[in-house]
């Protein structure tokens, strides 16, 4: 990892292995797999295993993606199927021409 790149810390809160949670994980990985300029760190937290964290981190909706760095903190809720909103919400720039590809492979958690 190059030090010139900004570090983005992401936490994805899920509750067990629900289809929606799995979809969110898949979608997030896909977004991150794109050629972004930033440096990522992704942590997936299962609240069923650690319920107290829901309170500590003020989580209501599942799944919730939290960008804890850089500040300010922002939250994106849902299965992240709307890639465009994720990208805008996380305020991450990506390499030209990759947008369409990522969107085409988005998995939807809604059944």
């Amino acid at each position: 990892m190059k030090s010139s790149k900004k570090l983005i810390e992401l936490r994805l809160y899920v509750a067990g292995q629900t289809p929606r949670s799995l979809a969110a994980i898949t979608n997030l990985k896909k977004i991150c797999a794109g050629d972004f300029e930033e440096n990522y760190h992704i942590e997936v937290i299962d609240l069923l295993k650690n319920p107290a964290l829901a309170r500590d981190h003020q989580i209501l909706a599942i799944p919730t993606l939290v960008r804890s760095l850089p500040v300010p903190i922002c939250k994106i809720i849902g299965d992240l199927s709307d890639t465009e909103r994720v990208v805008v919400g996380l305020d991450i720039r990506k390499a030209k021409g990759k947008k369409a590809t990522v969107k085409a492979h988005a998995v939807t958690g809604a059944r």
């Binding site: 609240l47 909706a61 939250k75 809720i77």
Partner: protein
């Protein structure tokens, strides 16, 4: 099929209820909130929704050993703790003792973006862990509707609400959710569509610049409940509701008699005084001695060692004590001993329900034997006659059920008919004493009469009522051809009578003297005649003797003559 019918009735257990512990609420709801179900508390801003909910949790934890969970969406636990500290609730202490769990749920719409499908499993996880942490039986959400501002998809929210209420019901958690009142609906977001077991509506209205809080159970599925609007009060001991219509005319009565504090008045009431537990109405114009009469009663009651509550809307405690001292009634020692509780507040301070609620609370706190309300007429500020009448009726019933002897003082304003109380409560009271001024010959004198007194042969006399340095006295009034005479007229009449009596006495004495003199005169005459008689008798005797002497002389002369002739 008999077996089927049996099974049906056997399975129909009455709805179980969870007591709230809030004074009055359990009475109007006949036991409390539906156990294991969800209740909506709705109302406008500042009407006490949160207070009601928190008191439900706190009292549950303190009094019924039912721990609770508070899911707060609007205020942080610190804020809530501070807010309810003024009601005497120590939430932090309860949280430390694991009797209460507070979870603050922050909903910040500006930092949340939505991308795709989601649910509120996080809320369920938090709720589950909170319930597990304290073994909660009660849950409160304040207010769930805050979620509508945080999440833009109402479809998801509604589905999640439905799931939440089912979740709570499945776990048998007695739940209270607060909700803002909407336009034309009970709650702004129609929560009552999901939860419809029990809906409590709170209202805070201003009438004539005086605030009045009301509570109404709009709906309570599967049970009967008081359907009226009940006034309630939030003060330093929490919330209390006046269960006004839950009373009935079924109180037991006492035949014990207690002194009115004025021996002469007792004399008018069969010589025994009032019945214990009766209600006495004292009406009169300004300055006719109503307060003094009530103070005499209080003094006598305290002397018997009974607790008294004096509710004053006109004078402060010290002022009453000073004034009563001037007529020989010393109330200070009773206050110091704790027998007399004197509470004074301005009638304009609240509406009538608040007054009565406050009186209720005082009575419950003091547990008095006797209560004086001076004067009830001041309660009428800003209320209609009908309201006052029904409220006083309820207060009277409450006092009667409690067996408390009560004196209600009612001021009759000048010019109105004396035998008519402004609020028409005379028919509700047992004894009615009327004080009135009689204006005659340039002075006003007080008169008292017992207009009615149920259950006793009371005097029908109109008595003059005198306030002396040693308390009250009743004097018989003079009833002459010119009508009833009181005051100086009576005194004049009495002295006139005295003068007449003296005159009569003198007349008799004079006649007696005359007779004596006459007797003496006659006696003198008798003596004179006797003397005359004696003189005549004496003369008669002298004459007789002289006659005898002459006869004797004559005989001797004859003898001598004969002798001389014979011897020669």
């Amino acid at each position: 099929m008999p077996s089927r019918a049996n099974r049906r009735t056997a399975g129909l257990l009455p709805l179980e209820k969870t007591p709230t512990g809030i004074p009055g609420f359990d009475e109007i709801s006949e036991g409390g909130l539906p156990k294991g179900r969800t209740t909506i508390i709705c109302g406008g801003a500042g009407c006490g929704k949160t207070m009601l909910g928190i008191e439900f949790l706190v009292r549950g934890a303190q009094e019924y050993n039912e721990p609770g969970v508070l899911m707060a969406f609007e205020e942080t636990p610190e804020d809530i703790a501070r807010n309810v500290a003024s009601l005497g609730f120590d939430i932090e202490d309860l949280a430390n003792k694991k009797k209460l769990f507070l979870d603050y749920i922050s909903v910040e719409p500006h930092e949340i973006q939505e991308s795709g499908d989601y649910d509120l499993e996080g809320l369920f996880i938090r709720l589950q862990s909170a319930v597990d942490a304290v073994g909660a039986k009660r849950v409160m959400f304040d207010t769930l509707e805050a979620l509508f501002s945080g999440f833009s998809n109402p479809g998801i929210l509604r589905a999640e609400f439905r799931r939440l209420f089912r979740w709570l019901k499945d776990r048998g958690l007695t739940t209270v959710i607060t909700a803002e009142r909407g336009e034309g609906t009970l709650t702004r977001h129609g929560l009552e569509e999901y939860v419809s077991d029990c809906v409590v509506l709170l209202d805070h209205r201003i009438k004539d610049q005086i605030s009045a809080r009301r509570l109404r159970i709009v709906k309570y599925r599967g049970t009967k409940h008081g359907a009226d609007e009940y006034p309630f009060l939030i003060d330093e001991r929490g919330m209390s509701i006046l269960p006004l219509t839950s009373l009935q005319l079924q109180h037991t009565v006492s035949s014990e008699r207690i002194s009115s504090g004025v021996p002469d008045l007792d004399e008018m009431l069969e010589g025994k005084g009032y019945f214990r537990g009766s209600s006495i109405l004292v009406t009169g114009t300004a300055g006719s001695g109503k307060t003094t009469l009530a103070a005499s009663f209080v003094d006598a009651a305290c002397r018997r060692g009974e607790r008294c509550l004096y509710i004053d809307f006109e004078e402060s405690r010290d002022q009453v004590a000073r004034n009563m001292n001037s007529v020989g009634i010393d109330l200070d020692p009773w206050s110091k001993k704790g027998l007399l509780t004197h509470e004074a507040w301005r009638p304009t301070q609240f509406g009538i329900e608040m007054h009565l609620l406050r009186i209720h609370k005082l009575i419950e706190k003091v547990q008095p034997h006797c209560v004086v309300i001076d004067p009830i007429t001041n309660l009428m500020n800003g209320s209609t006659d009908k309201e006052v009448y029904s409220m006083l009726m309820r207060l009277l019933d409450f006092l009667k059920v409690a067996g408390i002897t009560a004196i209600f003082i009612s001021l009759t304003s000048g010019g109105t008919e004396l035998e008519r109380t402004t609020v028409g409560i005379s028919s509700l009271t047992d004894t009615w004493i009327l004080l009135r001024d009689l204006e005659l010959n340039g002075e006003r004198n007080r008169c008292l009469y017992v207009l009615k007194s149920r259950g006793m042969a009371h005097s029908n006399q109109l008595r003059e009522f005198v306030i002396t340095g040693q308390g009250l006295r009743l004097l018989p009034v003079y009833i002459g051809p010119g009508g009833v005479l009181t005051g100086s007229s009576r005194v004049t009449q009495e002295s006139a009578e005295r003068a007449e009596a003296v005159q009569k006495q003198q007349e008799i004495e004079r006649k007696q003297q005359d007779a004596a003199r006459k007797r003496l005169t006659i006696q003198a005459q008798v003596t004179a005649l006797q003397a005359e008689l004696d003189a005549v008798e004496k003369e008669e005797k002298t004459l007789n003797r002289e006659e005898k002497d002459r006869e004797k002389q004559d005989r001797e002369d004859l003898d001598r003559l004969a002798k001389s002739r014979g011897s020669r």
